[in-house]
C-alpha cells in the first residue's frame, strides 16, 4: 500500500521569548537582542501513513500532536525535514474556522468551502447536501452570529465533510454537537473509511483512537514514543501518562510503611477472551498487600477515574464492608464489582488502605491499573441505564381522540428512546 503521507525527519522549533516584544520600540530598547529559549515542539518525527488507513496521533496536551497536524496541513512550516502528501488534503482543525459572524450561513458555506479547497461550482452542487446535513434549512440565510453554538458547529462539520478530500486531518472535533449529530459525524467518518480515504485523527482521548484508528503514533514532548497497532499504542500512552503525571509523595506516609500496596490488577467477566469488558459485566480489582505487622483497624478504599481524570466512583469510607483486618505478612486484597454500569472509556483504578482510628493513610496507589469498557450497542453517554419504553393509549377518551396505535413514535412529539440492550 503506497504511503499517502510520508513524514520525513520532521522537526519544528518554536521560540519561547522570555518576554514578548511586539513593537519596534521595545525591540530597539533591547538592542534587537531578544532572549528566547528554543523549544522543540517536534523532534525528528518520521512516519508513513498508508493510503486508506485511519491513523491516530495520541499525546497529552503540549506533546506536539497539534503542531504535527498543522505541519502536515501546511499551516506551520517545519524547521527541518519535510512532509510529502499524495492527493488532496483537508484539515478540520476547528469547525467553522473562518466563519464570518456578520455573513449569512449561505455566504459562509461558500467562504468556508473555498478555504477548504472547493471551487464555487462544486460548492453550488453540494450546497443542498451541506444544508441538509447541518439541519439548517430554515436558518441558512440568517447571519451566523445568531446561530447557537450547536448550529455553528454543525454547519462547520457539514462543510468540512462535504469537501471529500483524499486525506482528512481531524483534530479532536469529533466530540461535538448532540448525540444524534455525533452519530451522523461518526457515520460519515465510517463512510470515508469504507471509501478508502486516509484519515488522521489527533486526540488525547484514548477511546476516540481505539474506536476509529488502526494504527497510532504516541507523542510525548515532541518525540515519537511508539507507532503501533492502536491498542498497544494506547497501552504505551497510558504507561507514559501515569509515569510522568504521578505527583510526588501522593499518598501519605502517615502510617509509616506498615502496609505497602504492591501491584494492582484488574480482571473482568470477559478476561481471557478480549481486553475490554462490556457494560454490565463484572470487574475484580486485586492488589498485592504486604503488612509488616498485624493491623486490625484498617479500611480499604477503591476509586475509579476516567481518562480525563474525573472521579467516577469512590467507595464509601464508612461502609463496614470496606473494613479489613490484615495479619502480618502478605496477601491479596480483592474488590469485586458484580456489575460495571459504565459505558465506553478507559478507566483508572486507585487503591488505598487507611487507618480507621485516625486519618493516617497506610498506602495509596494512585491510578495504578486500568480497565477498558467498550460498549457494543449504540447507547451513548457515561453510564448504562436500562430503560423500558412503552406507549399507553389514553383509556378515558371515548370521543375525538383516536388512539394512536402503530404510529411512528417520533412524530408524536416524543423522542423515540433507545433502550439499552442487555449484553
Amino acid at each position: 500500500m503506497p504511503a499517502a503521507i510520508e513524514i520525513d525527519h520532521l522537526s519544528k522549533q518554536f521560540r519561547l521569548y522570555n518576554e514578548k516584544f511586539s513593537s519596534l520600540k521595545e525591540r530597539a530598547i533591547h538592542g534587537g537582542k531578544l532572549t528566547y529559549e528554543p523549544f522543540w515542539a517536534l523532534r525528528d518525527v518520521t512516519a508513513d501513513i498508508s493510503e486508506g488507513e485511519t491513523y491516530g496521533i495520541l499525546g497529552r496536551n503540549g506533546s506536539g500532536k497539534s503542531t504535527l497536524l498543522k505541519c502536515v496541513a501546511g499551516i506551520l512550516k517545519p524547521t527541518s525535514g519535510e512532509v510529502r502528501i499524495r492527493g488532496s488534503l483537508a484539515a478540520m482543525l476547528e469547525l467553522g474556522a473562518g466563519f464570518q459572524q456578520e455573513l449569512s450561513g449561505r455566504d459562509n458555506i461558500y467562504l468556508n468551502g473555498s478555504l477548504l479547497g472547493l471551487s464555487r461550482a462544486e460548492i453550488s452542487r453540494r450546497f443542498d447536501d451541506i444544508v441538509a446535513f447541518a439541519e439548517l434549512e430554515q436558518f441558512i440565510d440568517n447571519q451566523v452570529k445568531y446561530y447557537s453554538s450547536g448550529m455553528y458547529v454543525r454547519l462547520g462539520f457539514a462543510v468540512a465533510v462535504n469537501v471529500e478530500p483524499d486525506i482528512l486531518l481531524v483534530d479532536e472535533v469529533l466530540a461535538v454537537g448532540d448525540a444524534a449529530f455525533q452519530r451522523k459525524c461518526l457515520d460519515h467518518v465510517r463512510r470515508f473509511q469504507r471509501e478508502g480515504r486516509t484519515i488522521v485523527v489527533v486526540s488525547h482521548a484514548t477511546d476516540v483512537i481505539r474506536q476509529n484508528c488502526e494504527r497510532c503514533m504516541v507523542l510525548s514532548h515532541g518525540n515519537v514514543i511508539t507507532v503501533d497497532e492502536a491498542g498497544e499504542a494506547i497501552r504505551v500512552f497510558l504507561a507514559d501518562l501515569l509515569g510522568v503525571g504521578k505527583p510526588e509523595g501522593d499518598g501519605g506516609e502517615g502510617g509509616g510503611n506498615v502496609i505497602a500496596i504492591g501491584s494492582v490488577r484488574t480482571e473482568h467477566g470477559g478476561s481471557g477472551t478480549r481486553p475490554h469488558l462490556y457494560p454490565g459485566e463484572s470487574l475484580t480489582v486485586t492488589a498485592e498487600v504486604d503488612s509488616l505487622a498485624e493491623v486490625r483497624d484498617a479500611a480499604a478504599t477503591v476509586a475509579i477515574h476516567d481518562d480525563s481524570g474525573e472521579l467516577v466512583f469512590a467507595s464509601d469510607p464508612d461502609d463496614p464492608a470496606t473494613f479489613i483486618e490484615l495479619p502480618q505478612g502478605g496477601g491479596v486484597l480483592h474488590f469485586d464489582f458484580p456489575e460495571v454500569p459504565l459505558l465506553d472509556g478507559t478507566y483508572s483504578v486507585s487503591v488505598g488502605v487507611r487507618s480507621l482510628s485516625d486519618t493516617a493513610i497506610y498506602d495509596w496507589k494512585d491510578q495504578e491499573a486500568q480497565f477498558e469498557v467498550a460498549n457494543p450497542g449504540r447507547t451513548t453517554g457515561r453510564v448504562r441505564m436500562p430503560v423500558d419504553v412503552s406507549f399507553r393509549v389514553r383509556s378515558t377518551g371515548t370521543t375525538g381522540e383516536v388512539p394512536v396505535v402503530g404510529r411512528d413514535l417520533g412524530t408524536d412529539g416524543r423522542e423515540p428512546s433507545v433502550s439499552e440492550a442487555a449484553s
Partner: protein
C-alpha cells in the same frame, strides 16, 4: 406496548454502523496517480505564484466578502461607495474652486480628483493591508491557504472602489463638459497595471511585517501622509520643476520625485483625465498672459516610458515582497 431495543443487537463488539451505504464514488483515486504536495521549510517562488493563480476564485470571494461586510447593515448599502467619492468631489470643489481657488489651477476639483483616484487605491490598500493578516487570525491559524491572498484582497477591494470613483468622475466631467486627453488615455491601462502591481507589492509586504511588528500600522499611517504630500497630487509637478529650474541647489528634489513610483502613475492620470499639461492665466491689469506648466510636456510615448520603468520596478518589488512574506509566513500561526 413495549418497543424494545432500537439499537442493533448488542453482541457485535465493533461498531460497523452501516447506516449510510452509499456506493463508493469513483473519485477516490489511487495514491500513485495523485499529485504530490511537499511541505518543508524551503521557499520557492514558482509554486507560490502558481498557488496564487490556482486560488484566484478564493481571492474573488475574499473581495466579495469584504465588500459585503463593508456596507452591511447600512441602509444605502453599495450606494455609499458611489456617494462617498461624489461627496468628496463636491467638497473639493467647494473648498478649492470657491474658497481657495487651488493655486490658480482651473477646474481644480477635477485636477485633484484625477490624482486622488490613483492615490486612493494605493492608500486604501496599504492602510487596510497592515491589519488584514492580524485581523483574520482565526483563518490564518486554522486553515491552510496562500495567505498572500488576504493582502491581495485589500487591493481588490480598493480596486473596486476605484472603479466606482471612475464612474463618478465620468459623470461629473460629462456634466461639466470637460473632455479628457484622448491620446493619453492609451497610457491609462499601463498606469493602472503599474498601480495594481506596486500597490500589491506594498500590501503583501506590510501585511506580513505587521504580524511581527504591530507598530507597522501606525508607522504606515504617518508614512502615507508624508508620501501623499511628496507626490504631486494637490499641487502640480510643474511647480516643483520650475522651483528646481530657478534654484539648482534643490536639484535633489527632482530625483526624489523621479524615484517615487507614484509620481509617474499620478502624472499619467492627471495628463489623461485633466487633459492639459499647462494653462494660461488670463491677463489681469498690466500683466501679460502667463503660461503655467502643470505637467512635463511629453508625448504619449514619453509618459509610457516612465510607466514601463515603474512596472519593471514594481514587479521586482512584488516578487521581493512575496519572498519576505514567505519567510515570515512560516510562523504566522504561532505569532498571532
Amino acid at each position: 406496548m413495549s418497543i424494545g431495543a432500537v439499537g442493533p443487537a448488542a453482541t457485535e463488539p465493533d461498531l460497523p454502523a452501516a447506516v449510510d451505504d452509499s456506493p463508493l464514488p469513483a473519485r477516490v483515486t489511487r495514491a500513485t496517480e495523485r499529485t504530490m504536495t511537499v511541505v518543508n521549510g524551503e521557499l520557492r517562488l514558482g509554486p507560490r505564484l502558481r498557488a496564487l493563480w490556482d486560488n484566484r476564485e478564493l481571492l474573488l470571494l475574499f473581495i466579495r466578502t469584504e465588500l459585503k461586510l463593508k456596507y452591511k447593515d447600512s441602509i444605502l448599502g453599495f450606494l455609499w461607495s458611489m456617494l462617498n467619492p461624489a461627496m468628496v468631489l463636491g467638497i473639493y470643489w467647494a473648498a478649492f474652486s470657491v474658497i481657495n481657488r487651488g493655486g490658480g489651477i482651473p477646474q481644480f476639483a477635477i485636477w485633484l480628483f484625477a490624482g486622488l483616484l490613483a492615490w486612493n487605491l494605493f492608500n486604501n490598500a496599504a492602510m487596510t493591508s497592515t491589519t488584514v493578516v492580524v485581523g483574520k487570525a482565526g483563518i490564518v491559524k486554522k486553515v491552510a491557504f496562500p495567505r498572500e491572498l488576504l493582502a491581495l484582497s485589500t487591493v481588490g477591494v480598493a480596486a473596486f472602489l476605484f472603479v466606482i470613483q471612475v464612474g463618478v468622475l465620468v459623470i461629473v466631467m460629462a456634466a461639466l463638459g470637460m473632455t479628457p486627453a484622448l491620446g493619453y488615455l492609451a497610457d491609462m491601462p499601463l498606469a493602472i497595471l503599474d498601480l495594481i502591481v506596486f500597490t500589491s507589492a506594498v500590501a503583501v509586504f506590510l501585511s506580513a511585517v505587521n504580524v511581527y511588528y504591530r507598530d507597522t500600522q501606525h508607522l504606515t499611517e504617518v508614512a502615507l501622509m508624508a508620501w501623499f504630500w511628496g507626490t504631486p497630487i494637490v499641487y502640480a509637478y510643474g511647480s516643483i520643476a520650475s522651483l528646481v529650474a530657478r534654484h539648482p541647489s534643490v536639484l535633489f528634489l527632482k530625483y526624489l520625485y523621479v524615484c517615487n513610483p507614484m509620481t509617474p502613475i499620478v502624472m499619467t492620470f492627471q495628463r489623461a483625465i485633466y487633459g492639459k499639461a499647462s494653462y494660461v492665466s488670463p491677463a489681469a491689469g498690466n500683466t501679460a498672459h502667463v503660461a503655467t506648466t502643470l505637467l512635463p510636456n511629453l508625448g504619449v510615448g514619453g509618459y509610457a516610458l516612465g510607466l514601463v520603468v515603474v512596472l519593471v520596478a514594481s514587479v521586482a518589488l512584488f516578487l521581493g515582497a512575496l519572498v519576505v512574506f514567505g519567510r515570515l509566513e512560516g510562523n504566522f500561526a504561532e505569532e498571532l
